[in-house]
Symmetry: C2
Subunit: 397 residues, 2 copies
């Protein structure tokens, strides 16, 4: 583990001081005396912010670093799923190489942790998970990666998928995923039954994709609430996207959010610009653990996205009508502490006793840094400088 | 006027060739023989695209280049208007200096034309217009600026405003603006009566801000349709924002769009991420002249925005669910030819006989350049290189 004397920085945007790191842990914040023999860095009066967290992405899907992927296909969820499953290998999307590119990009831009869904289906078995697991090993000490066993093509309609999810949870995936029990599987009772059985068997959390909108999504949420309560899964269930919470009936959405808070269900948002998305402000007020993620970036589904949680904070902020400085600060907390809350990270933050995982941000104030998609002159992981000015010490393959 | 032999470029993303410019006009596109004595530039195989057009912005409002403007005020339209009017001068927002910073930023990022609304109210009289007119003079040959006399604080509720609008149209403003005849003025018949009278008197086009949503905005549009028809103003009216066209009742929105097309009314969108916005695709299919703009950037209203129409193309593309390469190309056409259609520019485009106003874009394809917010190694205006790599030949004050 690493030692570092970081001078001339503004922790969390507060007054200029130093940070002292020993064995990868922050041991002092303030005016620090010179430390003979210890590595020293000058932070240039930048803001120090806890490591950014991409709490919802897909490391196995990106075409980042490949040639431009032309897309003139129809924009239908089911056909996007099928196209990707049938063509990803032929297109040259090696799950290890692509996940390396994606994860190194995130680290270079200040992220310290990733929760990545990885496709599991009867075409690929566990080969995509294995590719991303190689990346997780290769990037130890650079960025931490948590894996979600994700049945992208559905659970109930493709026999053999349940067994693959079971095997994935026994072989390195920490979280169980799911997807649109009504919209994709046409069998909410069936899929949710499988998810709760597997989660209880393996003692893992669940993080389900729920693109279902309006009344359909609310229906599925209510089925989830019943089962979280019946199985004692409070605090161990997450809903990604949760587009239904952006419904125009804000009274009904408010009641759903109240129940989400009561059951300590986590919400993961990507601030999808063209969809109805949850009000991050309303979730915060209700005390719901809420994280954010870039989702897929530049994949066969669509061209948008960057491996950059500051870019994502801007997208979510613009989408949810953030204007004030305090709300801008909350956007930055969403893409950092929010993800840590969802992933239940320990010793996270810029404080004495925490792991020295943080990024420097150039900006007059925290709000300014969010709007600017601030340059990141230095990223520190476990006390070690792992990136400078957007370039990681590990080369992209 | 300027001559230039530009080598090694891809006009509109097509095959690599040269462009020959004489007296500021494109005279040849293809394999061009060496021209003794003529300035030569190497385009590095970049795409050549017509000058970007910010067809809806507010040059007098930005805090760009000033210290960070902290904002912890309430987010209500009326109170934003009042705060800005009462504080802009005290905050140090000089209309000439700020509009210079904003317009130079746009030019540096590839824009050749701007349509800017400028506030006219009984507090400032015409002083803000005069400041922006100085900028227009100072930037002749760098970027073309069209001015809209804009009654930001309302027309009917503040006696004296009509006379100021009249004076502005007699003194350099080419277009007449308006704002929410119901929502701000509480008097749609009154404001629209004034606007049509002034437009007919001065022979100018109208471009009205219409933030009114849903049924209210549809009502105001119907009042506008009646008056465009009665006054023979077909082809000379524009509606900015037009949030009502993003209503969930797509059948009704479709009927409004059909009438907009029939009356040749122009639509200006900013793709406002947190609002309901018109479907650019539907407008295109209906043949509606549609331009786009950055709106205010980093002003007292809110922190977002860049003086960059490629950034805006990305925002509108994400907001309107663009995914395919052809739709990405349409986004780039929206922020270029679309604005030219609204402003009825002549001799615009990358073609023989057109004015040599264009930007270079780095990208494998046109779609790729939109997603990347492509670097712009060179911007040409009237055959003269006016910016390189994001820096204009005119310094920001």
């Amino acid at each position: 583990m690493h030692d570092l004397h970081l001078k001339n920085v503004r922790p969390l945007g507060e007054a200029n001081c130093d940070i002292l790191i020993k064995n990868g842990v922050i041991v002092e914040i303030g005016k620090v005396a010179d430390q003979p023999g210890m590595p020293v860095e000058d932070g240039g009066n930048a803001i120090v912010w806890p490591g950014l967290i991409d709490a919802h992405t897909h490391l196995d899907k990106t075409t980042w670093g490949m040639g431009w992927h032309e897309n003139n296909r129809e924009a239908v969820l089911r056909s996007r799923i099928d196209f990707e499953r049938e063509n990803r290998i032929a297109l040259g999307m090696d799950p290890h190489i692509q996940s390396m590119r994606h994860a190194i990009g995130l680290a270079a831009n200040g992220a310290s942790h990733i929760r990545s869904h990885v496709d599991i289906d009867t075409t690929h078995g566990l080969s995509l998970v294995e590719g991303v697991e190689r990346t997780r090993e290769a990037l130890k000490g650079i960025i931490d990666i948590e894996l979600v066993a994700f049945p992208q093509s559905g659970v109930m309609g493709r026999p053999g998928t349940v067994e693959l999810l079971d095997a994935a949870l026994a072989n390195g995936c920490e979280v169980l995923g799911g997807i649109d029990p009504c919209g994709i599987d046409r069998d909410p009772k069936g899929q949710l039954g499988v998810l709760f059985d597997l989660a209880l068997k393996h003692g893992v959390d669940v993080d389900i994709h729920l693109h279902e909108v309006g009344d359909l999504g609310a229906f599925t949420m209510e089925l989830i609430f019943e089962r979280v309560r019946a199985n004692g899964m409070q605090g161990r269930f997450g809903i990604s996207h949760a587009f239904a919470l952006g419904m125009s009936d804000t009274v009904r959405a408010g009641k759903l959010i109240d129940e989400i808070a009561e059951l300590d269900i986590a919400i993961l948002t990507t601030g999808a610009p063209s969809a109805t998305v949850p009000s991050v402000k309303r979730l915060r007020e209700a005390g719901v653990r809420t994280g954010a993620g870039c989702d897929g970036i530049r994949d066969t589904w669509g061209p948008w996205g960057q491996p950059d949680m500051m870019d994502r904070a801007r997208i979510i902020g613009m989408k949810t009508a953030v204007r004030s400085d305090i709300d801008l600060r909350h956007m930055l907390e969403l893409v950092s502490q929010g993800g840590a809350d969802v992933m239940r990270l320990e010793n996270y933050g810029v404080k004495v006793g925490a792991k020295a995982d943080f990024t420097l941000l150039v900006g007059e104030t925290v709000a300014h840094s969010v709007v600017e998609i601030a340059p990141r002159p230095m990223v520190v992981k476990g006390g070690r400088v792992i990136a400078r000015n957007g370039t990681c010490i590990v080369d992209m393959p």
